[in-house]
Symmetry: C2
Subunit: 220 residues, 2 copies
């Protein structure tokens, strides 16, 4: 049996591989929407299998670490966090696939005005994803907190886009199908931001032993 520390390093390395695959899927899916790039959208669909495979590998490794060893408190928290972050990353990968599918729907549509908001929301969401994962690697509580602060900004941008697209549809029913696809992109971005927020909460739990979920900040 290999040494515990070695297996723990493998777990961390696999989680980083997973996160870089998922970050790349998000980047490609959004670029595919904005630049109407069919090839990038198809790459996201193709790479999903690898994300799904590595999710299973990470869970197996985490469970074997819990089963075969008797991890100390800090390592235990790391392993439980890895199981949760793994789950969030896999869902983010699914959401990138949803966005890539909408990119394919939108390929031959004329570019409409509300599109301008999507790069803005996407940039904010990608920065949240990056920060939540950097915070995990560095166990940086302050960085994780900055992710929580951004989540409200994403919700505001989502609501603004929603109302803009609603007016756009009401103005001319021929805009409805395209607007629905754009709304779906915005909604998937918002859900990716929610998962980045979950990861940031896990980092705070890991870094300081504080459970910040549901505003339970006072608990230690």
């Amino acid at each position: 049996m290999r040494h515990f520390v070695e297996e723990l390093e493998e777990l961390k390395a696999k989680l980083l591989e997973m996160s870089s695959l998922v970050e790349s899927a998000i980047y490609r899916s959004i670029t595919a929407v904005v630049q109407k790039d069919e090839l990038l959208a198809r790459e996201v669909l193709t790479n999903e299998a690898r994300v799904n495979q590595i999710e299973i590998e990470i869970d197996d490794l985490a469970i074997s670490l819990l089963a075969l060893q008797q991890p100390m408190a800090t390592d235990l928290r790391l392993i439980v966090s890895a199981i949760k972050i793994n789950n969030d990353l896999e869902r983010m990968g699914d959401l990138a696939v949803n966005i890539a599918e909408r990119a394919l729907d939108l390929l031959h549509e004329p570019i409409v005005k509300p599109m301008v908001d999507i790069p803005h929301i996407a940039a904010l969401v990608q920065s949240m994803v990056r920060k939540s994962l950097d915070a995990f690697v560095a166990r940086d509580g302050d960085l994780a907190r900055s992710v929580l602060a951004s989540d409200d900004a994403v919700d505001d941008l989502r609501n603004a886009s929603f109302h803009e697209l609603l007016s756009f549809m009401e103005h001319d029913p021929r805009n409805i199908r395209q607007s629905m696809s754009l709304l779906s992109v915005v909604r998937n971005l918002e859900r990716i931001a929610d998962h980045a927020t979950n990861i940031a909460e896990d980092v705070l739990f890991l870094a300081k032993g504080i459970d910040v979920r549901h505003h339970a900040e006072s608990r230690v």
Copy 2:
């Protein structure tokens, strides 16, 4: 320190309390949409705090079981499954809140034809939730498998509703706002079904040691 078996029973009991709260939230939120019942919708919003509180209690208990004891393989799997199912239940509770909010938006809207599909989808989704939790309690792999089979039916119903509501909006832009709220209800139901599917997959993992995620059925 209390006996391991006793704490494990407490974990199971809390998970059942959580699942009954969440099932009730789903039932109330849907009934609030269909029967335009403001009181039921508000109850869902009020009860969210208890769901969030019990989620934290379950996680704390699971982590303390992992930390203070050295669980055997079967118990270990149960505890890891409890952490995952807890997470799925909490998200289902959030989705019921989303539906309750749409119920409030829809309170004073006239009843439109596409509404008829929502009770149909809701009944199927509620049955999936019930079966996934019964399968967990009884470790019943066949019941869990029947949940996986229903997920495709929900996707089909979702797509049919989507296209029906799209035509309805295109036919008369005055229908757009109401249709968007109904679409949101359908989408939230679909996401609840996805979480029931996750729970069923965890049950299969727990019952037979088979990982069925991503069609990895051949793995043992």
